[in-house]
């Protein structure tokens, strides 16, 4: 074993590596989002993203197989229920098509601005999570090649997932709304009162700055407020009210929310494309 090494050369090596690290931190800290290091970052993301895609393609079916084994009984019941629901949705979809056409005709008739715009989305699969325990992000298997850009909102069938923070050609990184760095403008669906929904990692989300006189019902849905210049379109479900309290000495109410999306089982999401 080569445990013995000359101390002086080792010390010199370590000091230069530490200096190099400090230099990188400084350059990146001052360069911000447009620094030269961002390009290398995108390269690293592309490589790791491709590998993550390959691994999750293999590991996910295996994981699903084992979870499936444990739930064979309930799966059959779920299958029946889903078939029924699908039939209902198909009937509903036909009605919606008719209604959409009628609305479009009426809008044209009344010379209204086209408001009922169906959102254009790109469907993507989650291929991996962040490598860190201090960031709540997921990687998607689509990137700038599929017209995804930074700051585009990401949703799933259940509600709001987050927004895109980094894009490489075939991979993109989405910051989840449970990240402590994430803040979303939310609106209580019944009273219309607004507040700021902040991520609390694995704990329930908190909604701050709510008017203390607002009437809040238990289990009420909180949706995105959708301000004109905001990141997120309006009326996407964020979560459900689970706990309401007023901090002593605080002028506003704080509400705890259970996220609408189950972030531990995120698989397929949709990125909303906007110019």
């Amino acid at each position: 074993m080569a445990l013995y090494s000359r101390p002086r050369t080792t010390r010199l090596l370590v000091v230069s590596l530490v200096m190099l690290s400090l230099l990188t931190i400084t350059v990146d800290y001052r360069g911000g989002q447009t620094g030269p290091l961002e390009t290398i970052g995108k390269g690293a993301l592309s490589v790791v993203g491709a590998l993550q895609g390959a691994v999750s393609r293999v590991s996910r079916p295996i994981g699903n197989f084992f979870t499936g084994l444990a739930h064979v009984g309930s799966l059959r019941a779920e299958n029946d229920r889903l078939k029924q629901e699908l039939r209902q949705v198909q009937v509903h979809a036909k009605e919606v098509t008719t209604l959409t056409r009628q609305v479009a005709e009426l809008e044209k008739l009344l010379k209204l601005e086209h408001r009922l715009s169906l959102r254009r989305t790109v469907t993507a699969t989650v291929i991996g999570a962040s490598v860190s325990n201090f960031e709540w992000t997921v990687n998607l298997d689509k990137g700038s090649a599929d017209r995804i850009k930074v700051d585009m909102p990401v949703i799933s069938g259940d509600g709001l997932v987050g927004h895109v923070v980094t894009v490489a050609p075939h991979v993109s990184v989405v910051q989840l709304i449970i990240d402590p760095d994430s803040a979303v403008a939310g609106r209580l669906s019944s009273s219309g009162e607004t507040g700021l929904v902040i991520g609390q990692r694995n704990h329930p989300l908190t909604m701050d700055l709510v008017n203390p006189d607002a009437n809040v019902a238990a289990n009420e849905t909180v949706v995105t407020a959708g301000y004109q210049s905001g990141l997120y379109p309006p009326d996407i479900a964020i979560g459900f009210v689970s706990h309401i309290y007023t901090r002593p000495g605080s002028l506003t109410k704080t509400i705890e929310l259970t996220p609408a999306v189950d972030f531990s089982a995120l698989e397929v999401v949709a990125v909303i494309l906007r110019s």
């Binding site: 013995y4 190099l20 400090l22 800290y29 790791v48 590991s59 860190s132 402590p180």
Partner: protein, 168 residues
């Protein structure tokens, strides 16, 4: 050259595994940090200079996948690799538990140091209690994985070791 290629493969495998498979099997909401584990085990086997170089390279790659100022993890792992390698030279213990303890302790210490640097740069978004909890859990998870991964890394270290390194 062969050495560089081999270690690149090891670090990439570590990064991919911790963000896919191990992200699904988390311990109290925490995943292991395999790049720390690889650095520590390598420093343990090969000494301070190899530990520092491997830590710097692995940390740099991990940094480029994070939303933090790049270089923080590289700095942490350079120091972790050097420290573990140096201390190892003075520890003579045949106990097979030694690597498990070293990996656990060094991972926890490294993550705490890493988060202190992030805090100094104004990049810490979680509370101190949470940082300590995550550091301890990651250390625990890494030491649990050590008995499985230590022989694998030792195998790679032995095949990749240049002939010249034998200095006695």
């Amino acid at each position: 050259m062969r050495r560089v290629v081999l270690w690149t493969v090891v670090v990439l495998t570590a990064l991919v595994l911790q963000s896919t498979v191990f992200a699904q099997i988390s311990l109290g909401g925490t995943k292991p940090d395999l790049v720390y584990l690889v650095t520590i085990v390598l420093a343990f086997l090969e000494g301070p200079s190899s530990g520092a170089v491997a830590g710097f390279a692995g940390g740099m790659v991990e940094d480029f996948l994070l939303n933090l100022p790049k270089g923080i993890t590289a700095l942490t792992l350079t120091l972790v690799g050097y420290t573990v390698g140096t201390i190892r030279q003075f520890v003579v213990s045949p106990s097979p538990l030694l690597p498990v303890v070293v990996v656990g302790t060094a991972t926890t210490a490294g993550i705490l140091f890493n988060q202190i640097v992030a805090f100094l740069l104004g990049q810490l978004h979680v509370g101190a209690g949470e940082v300590v909890r995550v550091a301890l859990l990651t250390g625990l998870y890494n030491s649990v994985l050590t008995p499985i991964l230590f022989p694998v890394i030792r195998r790679v270290a032995e095949t990749s070791r240049a002939k010249k390194v034998f200095r006695w």
